[in-house]
């Protein structure tokens, strides 16, 4: 699994926060969090470079994970030239399943009368 990769669709959007990334798949409502190492490889992909050449096995595993999550697809175009990367951590992609397409974000009851103010109604 080498070569050039690209976002699987224009509906894969991301934002950078001090090096960490949050990705949203607008089609599915799924959110993903990338640590600094993963964000570095993501940016390599977005620049048209081959992460498997830049980061070896870590890059290969990362691309496999992104494909599994439906975030990138292989491209027919040749990759841009790349230099080896030194990652200071294992690239991690978190799947924020609890954020995926909240059905209603304002449920009943912020307050529990007996337990204090304010209090979640489902607390014991």
């Amino acid at each position: 699994m080498t070569g050039r990769f690209s976002r699987s669709s224009p509906d894969i959007v991301h934002e950078d926060f001090d090096g960490d990334l949050v990705i949203l798949n607008l089609q599915t409502g799924e959110y993903f969090g990338l640590n600094l190492a993963a964000a570095t490889l993501w940016n390599e992909i977005m620049a048209g470079r081959d992460p498997t050449l830049a980061a070896g096995d870590a890059g290969t595993r990362f691309v496999g994970r992104l494909q599994e999550l439906g975030l990138v697809i292989a491209s027919d175009d040749p990759p841009e030239t790349t230099a080896p990367l030194s990652l200071d951590a294992v690239p991690v992609v978190d799947v924020y399943s609890d954020l995926s397409d909240l059905i209603l974000a304002d449920p009943i009851h912020d307050v529990d009368e007996a337990a204090g103010w304010p209090k979640r109604p489902d607390e014991g």
């Binding site: 926060f17 960490d20 969090g33 909240l102 304002d106 009851h109 103010w117």
Partner: protein
């Protein structure tokens, strides 16, 4: 994809259809004919607008919205909930609120079996059209950004979703007001003088309770649920006057017998009321933001503030708005990110005493 408006808004088919009886004027939507279908419905707008008797006008976040409806009750309800303040500086948006039986309407229909919301939105993203369809209620909102005209179509005059009375025409507000540097965001606000905080978090985080405690405790607010935020100025503007709280929360605040707060629950089991009716003085037209706060109920006695990362702040601010405001989700995602990057963010661990919570927030705002 480049979208180009056809020279003739009405197709030959439409002109032919005009000869048919009213009941035949129906257009079935699917993903393959989406733009064409919208372009068969929207030409009805001017005839509907002229024939719709009841009207209202509001100015929200500097946008003028002219509303017409077949029934006055909807306009009364919407005008009550919309925060109309200041003078308009943007183009005027016209929204007609009609029922499917309106004789001037080419009634839209989208079989539930073929309706997929996100792919539909993707298809419209490069066009000037915006669409929200709630199939369970046959509730439609169709908007043309170029012409600033919108149709809200309901099966009956009161066939709106249960959350609509609290935040009426919410999607239209976003579609008309949303721009490169501004968007609706799902969050509450509190302020002191010219300093304000944006409170973000999922339902049950204590956001609305905190805003209400602040309002009753002498702080200002431009909204407890949705506000319009400009990223170039970091100013929040009001959209809705609506406040919500359940009976127990109102009792904690000793406001459960307030004459302006109804005794009946809304669809969420909450009492719904309006800011001008309960606030001690008029609320501002704008609130400059100095921080993003993430309320959290822990059951502890003391209220405390602790810094959080921008990523944490973003993950509290973005998802609910992106989910609840339709057909402009990428803008909400981007604006929420921009706001999260610019504002210092703190976790607001809530104590159990509303007065103590307000005291902590007042001190925080005074120190900004």
């Amino acid at each position: 994809m480049t979208w180009m408006r056809p020279q003739d808004g009405r197709s030959g088919l439409m002109r032919a259809e005009a000869r048919y009886p009213v009941k035949e004027r129906r257009i079935v939507f699917d993903e393959h004919n989406l733009v064409a279908a919208i372009e068969r419905v929207l030409p009805d707008f001017e005839a509907i607008w002229q024939a719709t008797p009841h009207q209202a006008e509001v100015t929200v976040a500097h946008g003028r919205f002219q509303l017409r409806s077949q029934h006055p009750d909807y306009l009364t309800q919407a005008s009550r909930a919309l925060a109309s303040r200041g003078a308009p500086t943007r183009t005027t948006c016209r929204i007609a609120i009609v029922t499917l039986a309106n004789p001037a309407l080419t009634a839209p229909d989208w079989p539930t079996s073929t309706f997929r919301e996100r792919p539909m939105e993707a298809l419209l993203s490069e066009t000037p059209y915006r669409l929200h369809y709630f199939p369970e209620l046959q509730f439609w909102q169709i908007y043309d950004r170029d012409r600033a005209i919108g149709l809200q179509i309901m099966p009956t005059h009161d066939g709106f979703p249960p959350w609509d009375p609290g935040s009426p025409l919410r999607n239209f507000l976003q579609w008309h007001l949303g721009e490169e540097t501004g968007s609706l965001l799902h969050g509450g606000t509190l302020g002191l003088g010219d300093r304000g905080v944006l409170l973000a978090g999922e339902g049950g985080s204590g956001k609305s309770s905190t805003v209400l405690a602040g309002i009753f405790g002498g702080l200002s607010s431009v909204g407890d649920d949705y506000v319009y935020v400009e990223t170039d100025t970091l100013i929040a503007r009001p959209l809705f006057e609506t406040l919500k709280q359940d009976r127990a929360g109102l009792e904690r605040l000793n406001r459960h017998t307030h004459p302006a707060i109804p005794q009946e629950d809304n669809w969420q089991g909450k009492r719904q009321f309006y800011m001008p009716d309960v606030a001690a003085w008029p609320m501002p037209e704008a609130l400059p933001l100095c921080a993003l706060l993430l309320p959290q109920i822990t059951g502890g006695n003391r209220t405390a503030l602790a810094p959080v990362t921008r990523k944490e702040a973003f993950l509290a601010l973005a998802p609910s708005g992106v989910t609840q405001i339709h057909c402009d989700r990428q803008r909400l995602f981007r604006i929420a990110a921009e706001v999260s990057r610019q504002l210092p963010a703190y976790r607001l661990t809530l104590g159990t005493d509303p007065q103590e919570i307000v005291y902590v927030l007042r001190r925080f705002l005074e120190d900004r």
